[in-house]
């Protein structure tokens, strides 16, 4: 076989060729055809076509780069998604050679239906002990030859989808040997479609079968877009045990299938089992004489995502289009306004003068509120972030850009809370720039760390107020603290830290606001130019669809930044109550002065307030979480670290780590900001940075987006080794290639050893 294996062949001829060449789905469909079942007409694009496309297109290197650039075990879920997007975009940008495209198009022309479905047929996917459904792509409604070639490439690329990469060990994914076949079938559009299981997957030993049905296409059921009617059937007799209606708005409440329809599916399940020797899991469409099998594979008892690990959570982060639309509505219309109102309400509550028991109640109430919103953050805000990723996939599929992250330009200039804050800081810096004497005074004050702190600030401000323009400056500084810094960061209430804000404004004014990153538009094109590019690529008939995807993405990005800030406000309000309690306990000498108060200590403090015995309170200070560098052995140091090229540019400058709240005030303009992760609550110092190195990886995380927006080179997703970079070390950040070089290219050791 090999070189003689056909690139394309009719479905009826697929099974004899062997699963290695046609994949599991095509082999099963071919067997069903041979056994006399009604299956939509179609053909199979063999794995040889995939291998030839990958080889001719030079794609293997790109896949290898993604798989090996960094140990996948240390990749975050967003980095895995990024890798899959780059592979998918590479596939779509690579033309299908004519010796592959011509037989595909010829086979497509031979189909009678005007529309077809293009499905994955991965090798081994249906013989696995558990179902890997949902890992690979299926595209329905393909009507043109160009769309067909795009769809085939998308299905090929889905061999390396984010979900597949997540399960690469179980799948045995290997860049040298793995391949994907594709099934192209006429799209059969009937009034009912669904799935059927020859045995109940949850309890396969029971005498039970399961049937599900939805109106319209089966794909809507598989995608989870429509809630199905569900029947439980006695496997031995076909008797219906139970029917559970699906929840669908505007639909009749009658069952979607009558008893005869259910009986036909029952008999089909049993005859397939008798013919092939395994209880089937089928997808079907149509009723009565129109009943057609779309797919059949052995029932598996374990479904993807049932493992007790974080991968299940990750898979939930990729809601389909309709789920995303519903989530968008809930987040934008209900959750964010509620979160904002909750923060306002808590801020207005006067808690400092409450009696001990009432203050303890306030702490507990706030702790419950904080915990609730953290849960909502995990359950709904993070999945809603998929709106941005949905745009990325949509844009790249149709525009096929050189830069897989070109679509991010569409998200620029969203009215975010953090952007409002940065704008207010810039305006105050402009005010300061126009008053050199005041600026010089504040620079001297901020530079003297022996006297300048949040505690001394209140006495030092008297001298500032006396200077020309000083009162107005303080007024505006206070306003920024109240309006924009009413959040918690690393367990501190930032509105109580005007020294941090002062530092940022003084640094901005010192280098000149015009030189602050992002103060002038660094972009030649506007978001609307990229939006127009997308609309032109999809064509007028899909404008509404594209605009909907863009609208969700913009809202998703804006709210994913705002939700962090707003949640920071809730955290700050919990801290405020905890600190009020701590001050009280300190005064009565039940708590050591200066103890570090965190949201975790809130419960202890409220209990202490209620404790009439007046016992001492001991807080466990776990300190800041630390990560160890992987270069800990003697004599070993990182020299060049590879991460993601998150924002382009090349900068060599001094390194400055930001690990604590106080580090925010030590960050001088023009240095390289090194941190674990940029948080929206501290991103006001980002415009000062010459470049950014972030341990957390992802092309669409806060730091990456802000860096691109401001035109600051950024490398993220670097190994923990980055944490061993000392302050003042010279580092080079290559945001084009994603490389961080530590230290100059010296030969100090070698030259010191000369004669």
């Amino acid at each position: 076989m090999g070189a003689n294996t056909p690139l394309v062949l009719p479905l009826a001829e697929a099974a004899p060729l062997g699963e290695r060449w046609v994949g599991g789905k095509a082999a099963r469909l071919s067997e069903l055809l041979a056994a006399g079942y009604r299956v939509p007409d179609g053909f199979c694009v063999t794995t040889r076509a995939y291998q030839q496309f990958v080889e001719d297109g030079g794609l293997k290197n790109g896949i290898d780069m993604e798989m090996e650039r960094k140990a996948m075990s240390s990749m975050r879920w967003e980095e895995i998604w990024d890798a899959a997007l780059r592979i998918r975009t590479d596939f779509l940008r690579t033309p299908v050679p004519s010796d592959i495209s011509e037989p595909i198009i010829a086979a497509f022309r031979s189909l009678a239906a005007p529309s077809c479905a293009v499905r994955s047929s991965a090798v081994g996917e249906d013989s696995a002990a558990r179902s890997y459904a949902g890992l690979h792509e299926s595209i329905v409604g393909v009507t043109s030859e160009n769309a067909l070639l795009d769809a085939v490439r998308v299905v090929w690329a889905s061999l390396w989808s984010d979900a597949a990469l997540l399960y690469r060990r179980e799948l045995g994914l290997d860049t040298g040997t793995s391949a994907m076949a594709v099934v192209v079938q006429e799209l059969v559009a009937m009034d009912r479609s669904g799935v059927g299981f020859g045995r109940d997957p949850r309890e396969p030993t029971e005498d039970r079968q399961v049937v599900e049905a939805v109106p319209g296409l089966c794909q809507d059921l598989v995608d989870g877009a429509v809630d199905p009617d569900r029947w439980l059937i006695r496997r031995s007799t076909g008797a219906i045990i139970d029917w559970h209606p699906g929840i669908r708005t505007g639909q009749s409440e009658d069952p979607l299938l009558d008893d005869g329809d259910v009986g036909l599916i029952h008999r089909t399940l049993n005859t397939i089992e008798a013919t092939f020797g395994w209880p089937p899991d089928i997808e079907w469409t149509g009723r009565g004489t129109d009943f057609t099998l779309l797919q059949a594979r052995p029932v598996t008892t374990g479904a993807l995502g049932e493992e007790d690990d974080q991968r299940r959570w990750y898979l939930s982060l990729r809601p389909g289009k309709s789920k995303l639309e519903a989530l968008c509505k809930r987040v934008a219309e209900d959750l964010i306004p509620e979160l904002e109102a909750e923060g306002d309400r808590l801020a207005e509550e006067s808690i400092e003068d409450l009696a001990d028991a009432a203050l303890a109640d306030a702490i507990d109430t706030r702790a419950v509120i904080h915990a609730r919103w953290k849960q909502i953050y995990w359950d709904e805000f993070i999945p809603f972030a998929h709106g941005v990723r949905q745009l990325g996939t949509y844009y790249n599929d149709v525009v096929k850009p050189d830069d897989p992250y070109e679509f991010v330009a569409i998200l620029r200039h969203q009215p975010m809370l953090a952007a409002d804050r940065n704008s207010a800081l810039c305006q105050l810096a402009v005010y300061l720039e126009s008053r050199p004497a005041l600026l010089a005074q504040l620079r001297r004050l901020a530079a003297d760390r022996s006297t300048f702190s949040s505690e001394t600030w209140w006495s030092l401000r008297k001298s500032v107020a006396a200077a020309d323009g000083g009162s107005r400056f303080l007024e505006r500084l206070d306003q920024i603290c109240r309006q924009h810094m009413d959040v918690a960061y690393h367990g501190e209430q930032l509105d109580q830290r005007p020294d941090l804000v002062l530092h940022t404004v003084v640094e901005m004014a010192s280098i000149g606001v015009a030189a602050v990153a992002g103060s002038a538009s660094a972009h030649a094109t506007t978001p609307y130019e990229y939006e127009r590019r997308l609309l032109a690529a999809v064509g007028p008939e899909r404008h509404d669809e594209a605009r909907s995807v863009i609208a969700i993405a913009r809202l998703s990005w804006r709210l994913r930044d705002d939700d962090n800030v707003l949640l920071g406000r809730i955290e700050k309000q919990l801290l405020r109550a905890a600190k009020a309690a701590a001050e009280r306990l300190e005064r009565s000498q039940r708590l050591e002065a200066g103890a570090r108060i965190t949201t975790e200590s809130a419960a202890l403090l409220s209990a202490a307030l209620r404790d009439g015995m007046g016992g001492r309170v001991i807080l466990q200070d776990r300190g800041e979480p630390t990560r160890e560098s992987s270069f800990t052995a003697a004599g070993e140091t990182p020299r060049q670290i590879v991460g993601q090229p998150a924002a382009p540019g090349l900068v060599t400058a001094r390194a400055r780590g930001v690990r604590t709240t106080d580090d925010l005030k030590r960050f001088p303009a023009g240095e390289v900001l090194i941190c674990d992760a940029i948080q929206p609550t501290m991103s006001h110092i980002v415009p000062l940075a010459a470049a950014i190195i972030e341990r957390r990886g992802g092309m669409l995380i806060h730091g990456a987006i802000i860096a691109r927006e401001l035109g600051i080179p950024c490398v993220n997703g670097v190994s923990d080794a980055v944490l061993s970079i000392a302050d003042d070390e010279i580092v080079t950040v290559d945001g084009y290639l994603g490389i961080v070089t530590i230290g100059p290219p010296e030969f100090d050791i070698e030259t010191a050893a000369s004669p």
């Binding site: 293997k60 780069m65 140990a71 879920w77 690469r168 690393h490 052995a633 060049q640 590879v642 070698e750």
Partner: protein
């Protein structure tokens, strides 16, 4: 406290679904490569000109030095007599461009010193011939010189651009 949206994926490795990342120490990665490979490129310099030549090498157990042999009528011998500073490049380059991400390379910088006949000479020649039995008569020839390279540091490259350095004996 920042909100942690950073789940780790449990698997065979320390935290992930993919290839187990045993993350051996850098020194172990270097040792493995130097054990697997028999030959490297010796980089010398002189007369304003860098020069590279392939040599068969053997490293000491602690990787603090390497030995190699060269005929004395060679260009590299002459250059070594002018400048002791050398580099030795050892790699596992594949034959196919597709395998670029699997390439590892070590560059050892150091000072090369000719070893005169002595007990030390016998010890070092045994080390070299132990790895390269075919060089036994070559090493013992009167026109051949044995060199010891005292390593200053190693640079290790993997995954195309990931570079670490290790100083075996801090100076």
């Amino acid at each position: 406290m920042p909100i942690d949206d950073e789940p780790q994926f449990p698997g065979e490795g320390p935290a992930g679904p993919g290839t187990p990342d045993a993350s051996p120490r850098l020194a172990d990665k270097i040792r493995r490569l130097l054990t697997e490979q028999l030959y490297g490129i010796l980089c010398t310099q002189g007369q304003g000109q860098p020069y590279g030549s392939m040599v068969a090498f053997a490293f000491s157990a602690d990787l603090s030095f390497a030995v190699f042999a060269t005929p004395i009528a060679t260009r590299k011998y002459r250059l070594l007599s002018e400048c002791h500073h050398v580099a030795l490049v050892v790699d596992n380059r594949p034959q196919h461009a597709d395998d670029m991400m699997k390439v590892e390379a070590v560059t050892a910088t150091g000072r090369a010193t000719e070893v005169a006949p002595s007990a030390e000479f016998n010890e070092y020649s045994r080390l070299l011939v132990g790895r390269h039995p075919q060089l036994e008569s070559f090493v013992r020839a009167s026109s051949c010189a044995l060199f010891r390279i005292d390593v200053f540091r190693f640079f290790h490259v993997m995954r195309f651009q990931e570079v670490g350095q290790w100083v075996p004996i801090p100076r």
